[in-house]
Homo-oligomer: 184 residues x 2
DNA sequence: ACATACATGTAAATAGTTACATGATTTC
DNA sequence: GAAATCATGTAACTATTTACATGTATGT
């Protein structure tokens, strides 16, 4: 889904500035969607032109003026249509798995570092998600589901890494020594 | 990781044409990397210019001439450096989870369809991955790991969907009727 | 008849990210 | 003194996908 629609979605939950939308992306969407200022600000401009959102300017002392955006009725309608018309595609891109795919070409220590690092990252993500579940009380059922989805996947992956790591390392060692013997 | 490096990686496993590289992407990488002809062919041209791969032309009866690419020593060295220098970033983009995030804005039947569809897709992916594990005997340990990784994640997600679906649907129904009462 | 597999390649269009520009305030 | 937070915005760059162009053979 493109940044424009995602902004519309966030504004369905309440008014917000571009900066705040970015923060919400990071807090609530970051494990399955991303957007940067470079795409959010232009999106909000074009949504304003189309009449799907409006904004008021909020003057602040010692801070730049804030543009607080609200979704219009047309914007709401449009977003519901987008939801109805979106086929739920999924894409997963992992350089970690590329590294594992070519494990047999790498020094074992390097590989072990990569694996341990991946496990640490997953643990971190898991803690973040569990923290959200604990601390945020007013989540809708749908939002809670997206968090649980992330937790389920990460728990399974962490378990897999922990249970398979030593066997994988041993197998790689074998493959590499077999390769060396072949050469000599 | 970019298409060029990925092509280099595939060619580390043996010589291949652009068409065959695409097929290998689909068969072995598709659950964590993607590439189309529009990026593979230009990548192979530029790799050839840089001397990282070479090709011979294989004339075929009743088929266009095939360019069979092989990796050079420099190509191999370069790919090992790429592997060493790649930080294993991961990105997951899911429109399914966006749809779940805004579940409270959608008609329950529409939502249920989305969920059932997602479950079916996961089951399909799971079967594909398990098929690879069964049928492909000569996988390296690293390759087997990437498949097991996909299986672990998908099994966990399917289990989650199956166990949480009815509760989610019920909660959404409640949220929506609460909203309607508020309006009236 | 139509889709799929085989086979290579280009060009336009897409959709972003990264880095820059600007600048006060607060926290480490 | 450096980094992070707040706040908006632009422009160049990157890397891709999609669609097109071309053509045979085989399967449905």
């Amino acid at each position: 889904m493109d940044t424009s629609s995602l902004c519309l979605g966030v504004l369905c939950l309440g008014e917000a500035s571009g900066y705040e939308i970015k923060k919400m992306f990071e807090e609530s969407f970051s494990h399955f969607q991303a957007a940067s200022f470079g795409s959010i600000y232009p999106a909000l401009s074009s949504l304003t032109e189309k009449g799907l959102v409006t904004f008021r300017e909020e003057l602040q002392e010692k801070r730049p003026t804030k543009k607080v955006f609200s979704i219009t009725q047309e914007g709401r309608t449009q977003f519901l249509e987008t939801l109805a018309g979106t086929e739920p595609t999924e894409q997963y891109r992992s350089d970690f798995l590329v590294l594992m795919m070519f494990a047999h070409l790498q020094p074992p220590q390097q590989l072990e570092k990569t694996i341990d690092n991946q496990a640490a990252n997953i643990r971190g993500e898991l803690e973040t998600l569990q923290g959200i579940l604990k601390n945020c009380t007013e989540l809708t059922a749908g939002m809670r589901f997206t968090i649980e989805y992330g937790i389920a996947a990460n728990q399974a992956l962490l378990k897999l890494i922990e249970s398979r790591k030593s066997a994988l390392m041993a197998a790689i060692d074998q493959e590499q020594s077999a390769l060396k013997e072949l050469k000599s």
